[in-house]
C-alpha cells in the first residue's frame, strides 16, 4: 500500500487536481474540505504526511499544526499551502512545526517532489 496523505483543502478545484496527481503518484489520499473533518479524522488515523491549506473554514492550517504537534504529539510531516502575500502566516506555521510550504498557484509536480522529500526524511 502507498503512503497515506491527508489532503486538507476547501478549494474543490485545487484539491481535485492534487488528489488526482497524488493518487497517480502512488499515494493513498484522504481528502477533507474543512477543519472539523480533519480533526475528526486525525482522532482515529495518523497519515504519513499532511498537506494542508493555510486558510480553511472552522480550523485554520495554523490551528491544525498546533493540534498535531501539541495535542496529538505527532511528528508527521506537514506541508502548508499558502497564498502569496501570506508570509507572516508561513512564519508562524514554521514556528509551530510545519516542515515545508508551497505557494499558490500550486504546481502539482512541485508538490509531489516536496511530499516525496519529506517522506524520505522519515
Amino acid at each position: 500500500m502507498g503512503k497515506r496523505v491527508l489532503l486538507a483543502d476547501d478549494d474543490q478545484l485545487l484539491a481535485s487536481l492534487l488528489n488526482f496527481r497524488l493518487k497517480k503518484g502512488g499515494y493513498d489520499v484522504h481528502h477533507s474540505s474543512n477543519g472539523k473533518e480533519v480533526k475528526e479524522y486525525l482522532k482515529t488515523e495518523m497519515p504519513d504526511i499532511i498537506v494542508s491549506d493555510i486558510m480553511m473554514p472552522y480550523f485554520s492550517g495554523i490551528e491544525l499544526i498546533d493540534f498535531v504537534r501539541n495535542e496529538l504529539k505527532s511528528n508527521t510531516p506537514i506541508i502548508i499551502i499558502s497564498s502569496a502575500g501570506n508570509e507572516q502566516n508561513v512564519l508562524s506555521a514554521f514556528e509551530l512545526g510545519a516542515n515545508d510550504f508551497i505557494t499558490k498557484p500550486v504546481s502539482p509536480t512541485e508538490l509531489l517532489v516536496r511530499v516525496a522529500r519529506e517522506i524520505n526524511k522519515i
Binding site: 474543490q12 478545484l13 487536481l17 497564498s83 499558490k104 500550486v106 509536480t109
Partner: protein, 586 residues
C-alpha cells in the same frame, strides 16, 4: 503520362502528407526549417515547370503535326484538372495540420516555422485554384452571359474597388470613357469586371508612382453592334520586348524573379486572355521598360436597352435611407477572395454596418460567441471548408444564439442542387453574384435578425466595457499537462472551476448588501487561485485588485471591479468553453 504513373505520383503525395502530419516540428532548428522551406519551394517550382511550362516539351512537340498537338493539348488540360484536384486533398491536410499546430503552445521560433509552412502551402493552394480556374475556362466549361447592363456604372464600381486596393500609394487612378461609348450594352458584365480587375490589379502591383488609367472607346460600330476597346495604361516597371511575347503563356511571369518581388502566380493574364478570346475579343500588350505598360483589349457588345434592366437595378440607392435601415447591423462575411472582401466591406461600412471579414470557421465562432451578429453572408465556393460546410457547422452549434443566426449564401453560379443543399442545411436566402448594391441591401434588410428584447437582456452581460480582452483570456494547456493529458480530469476540474466562480458571485452579492468587505476579500482570496490555474492572468489580476481594495476599505472601487467581473466573466467562460470543446474534439 500514363495513368499508372499519375497514380504513383499521387501515392507519393499522400505519403508526403502523412509524413508531414506525423512530423515533429519541435525538433526543427532554424536552419532545418529554412531548408525545408527551400526544398518545398524548389519542389513547387519544378512541378510548375514540368507540368505547366509548354516550352519544356517544345522540342519533341514541334516536330509533331498540328492535329496531334491539339490532342496533346486536350489531354494535358484534362491532366491538369485531374492533378489539381488531387493535389488539393493532401494539401488541405497540410494546411489543416499546420493550422492546428499553430494553435498549440509554441516557442516564437517554432511559431515562425509553422507560419513559413502555412505561407508556402497557402501559396500552393492559390496556385492550384488558379490552375483549375484556367483549365475550366480554356476547356470551354465556362458559359458567358448576355444581359443588358450599364457600362459606366460597372466601370465606376470596378475602379472604386481598385482604389481600395491602393494602400498609401502615390498612384492616381484615372478613368476616361469616350462620349460615343453607349451607356447601356449587352454582354457579360461579370466577366468584363473580372478582366478589368485583373489588369488594373496587375498594374497596382507594379506601379509605385504615377498613374493607372482605364480608357474606353468605340473601335468599330455597325448599327447596333459595337466593338469596344478598353485600355489599361500604367507608369509601372514595364516589360522588356523579349518577355512581352511570352507574358500570356500559361504560367509565366516576365522575369524569374518577378514572383519574388511581386508575388502572384502568373496565371492571371492567361485567364484574362482566355476570357477575352472566348468572347471573340483580342488582347495586346505594349510596354517600355521602366516607362510603363499598356494592355488593350477589344470586346464585341451589342447596344443594350435600358428598359431590359430591371427597375430595381436602375433605381438609385439612397445612402441615407440605407443607413437608417442598416446602421449598427453586425454582419459577418465568409469570403476567401480578398478583392470581394474589400468590396463588401466598403459597401457595408458605408451603410453603417459593423463588418467582420477575413474569418475562418473557428475565428468566426469565437466572435459569434461574444458578439451579437445579425446576419452572416456566406460565399459558397471557398477553398478548405466551403460555404455549405461552414453553414452546417454554425447550424450545429450548441449555443442557440449562434445556431439561429440568419445566413445568406452568395455565389457566382447557383444550381438547383445548390438550392436544395441550402434548404437542407438551413441557409435562409441567397444572392447571385454579381449583385447590385440594391440587391445586397434588400436581402440584408429582409433577413437580418430582428432585435429581440430577451436576447438583448442576455447580451447586456456580454457588453464590452473597459479593456475586456485581457480579462477574458484563458489557457488550458498547462492545466491539461497537470492532468497528464487526461481530458476527463480536465473536464471535471473545469466544472469545479465554474462552481467556484458561481459561489464567489453569490458570496459577493450577499456581502455587498451589508458592505462586508472582510468576507468579500476572503472570497476573492479563495477565487484567485482558480483563475491562476487556468492561466487567466487578466482576470486573476482583476481579482487581486478587488481583494486589495477590500483591504483598503474602498467600497466604491470594489463595486466597480465586481461589475467589471460580472461583465467580463461570461466572455471568459465562453472562451473557456470553446477551448475545452476544441481539446475534447482532438
Amino acid at each position: 503520362m500514363s495513368i499508372s504513373k499519375t497514380t504513383d505520383l499521387l501515392d507519393q503525395l499522400s505519403q508526403l502528407e502523412r509524413s508531414v502530419s506525423e512530423f515533429s516540428f519541435e525538433e526543427l532548428s532554424v536552419d532545418e526549417a529554412k531548408e525545408l522551406k527551400n526544398s518545398f519551394n524548389t519542389f513547387k517550382s519544378s512541378l510548375e515547370c514540368q507540368i505547366f511550362d509548354p516550352n519544356q516539351n517544345s522540342d519533341s512537340l514541334k516536330k509533331e503535326p498540328l492535329m496531334v498537338l491539339d490532342k496533346q493539348e486536350v489531354s494535358q488540360k484534362e491532366f491538369i484538372t485531374h492533378v489539381s484536384h488531387e493535389i488539393r486533398t493532401p494539401l488541405n491536410s497540410i494546411i489543416g495540420f499546420a493550422n492546428l499546430l499553430k494553435e498549440e503552445k509554441l516557442t516564437s521560433s517554432q511559431q515562425k516555422k509553422v507560419e513559413a509552412i502555412q505561407f508556402a502551402s497557402n501559396t500552393l493552394l492559390k496556385l492550384i485554384n488558379e490552375v483549375l480556374d484556367y483549365s475550366k475556362i480554356s476547356s470551354g466549361n465556362t458559359s458567358f452571359e448576355s444581359i443588358d447592363f450599364k457600362l459606366h456604372g460597372l466601370l465606376n464600381d470596378v475602379m472604386f474597388l481598385c482604389e481600395t486596393l491602393l494602400v498609401d500609394s502615390q498612384v492616381e487612378l484615372i478613368i476616361d470613357i469616350d462620349k460615343s461609348v453607349p451607356k447601356v450594352i449587352k454582354g457579360d458584365p461579370s466577366k468584363l469586371s473580372q478582366v478589368i480587375l485583373n489588369l488594373v490589379g496587375n498594374s497596382i502591383k507594379f506601379v509605385n508612382q504615377g498613374f493607372i488609367k482605364l480608357g474606353v472607346f468605340v473601335k468599330e460600330v455597325n448599327e447596333n453592334d459595337y466593338v469596344l476597346e478598353f485600355s489599361v495604361t500604367d507608369t509601372g516597371i514595364g516589360i522588356s520586348k523579349e518577355k512581352i511575347n511570352s507574358i500570356f503563356e500559361r504560367y509565366s511571369q516576365a522575369d524569374n524573379d518577378t514572383y519574388l518581388k511581386y508575388g502572384g502566380t502568373g496565371l492571371g493574364l492567361s485567364i484574362t486572355k482566355e476570357i477575352i478570346e472566348k468572347q471573340n475579343g483580342e488582347i495586346v500588350i505594349n510596354s517600355v521598360v521602366s516607362k510603363g505598360t499598356t494592355v488593350s483589349f477589344t470586346l464585341p457588345f451589342s447596344k443594350g436597352d435600358v428598359n431590359n434592366i430591371s427597375v430595381e437595378k436602375t433605381k438609385n440607392l439612397d445612402i441615407k435611407e440605407a443607413k437608417k435601415l442598416l446602421e449598427g447591423t453586425e454582419i459577418m462575411v465568409f469570403e476567401d477572395n480578398l478583392m470581394n472582401q474589400h468590396l463588401i466591406l466598403e459597401q457595408l461600412t458605408k451603410w453603417g454596418c459593423n463588418v467582420h471579414t477575413n474569418v475562418t470557421l473557428e475565428k468566426g465562432l469565437a466572435i459569434l460567441a461574444t458578439k451579437k451578429v445579425d446576419l452572416i453572408l456566406m460565399d459558397l465556393k471557398m477553398p478548405n471548408l466551403n460555404g455549405f460546410e461552414v453553414s452546417k457547422a454554425i447550424r450545429l452549434n450548441e449555443n442557440p444564439l449562434i445556431r439561429n443566426i440568419p445566413i445568406v449564401a452568395f455565389s457566382a453560379d447557383f444550381t438547383e442542387q445548390d438550392g436544395k443543399d441550402c434548404d437542407s442545411i438551413g441557409i435562409n436566402d441567397f444572392l447571385l453574384k454579381p449583385y447590385t448594391l440594391n440587391d445586397l441591401m434588400s436581402i440584408i434588410v429582409k433577413n437580418k435578425r430582428e432585435n429581440n428584447p430577451n436576447e438583448e437582456f442576455g447580451l447586456i452581460l456580454q457588453k464590452q466595457m473597459i479593456e475586456p480582452k485581457e480579462t477574458t483570456i484563458v489557457d488550458l494547456n498547462s492545466l491539461l499537462k497537470d492532468c497528464f493529458g487526461e481530458l476527463e480530469m480536465l473536464n471535471e476540474l473545469i466544472k469545479l472551476f465554474k462552481t467556484n466562480v458561481l459561489e464567489f458571485i453569490g458570496n459577493v452579492r450577499i456581502h455587498l448588501k451589508t458592505d462586508n468587505l472582510v468576507e468579500i476579500a476572503f472570497s476573492a482570496h479563495k477565487l484567485k487561485a482558480s483563475f491562476a490555474m487556468l492561466k487567466a492572468t487578466g482576470m486573476h489580476n482583476l481579482i487581486l485588485e478587488l481583494e486589495a481594495n477590500c483591504k483598503a476599505n474602498k467600497l466604491d472601487k470594489v463595486k466597480e471591479l465586481y461589475e467589471l467581473f460580472l461583465n467580463d466573466y461570461p466572455l471568459l467562460e465562453n472562451n473557456l468553453n470553446i477551448d475545452l470543446e476544441i481539446l475534447n474534439k482532438k
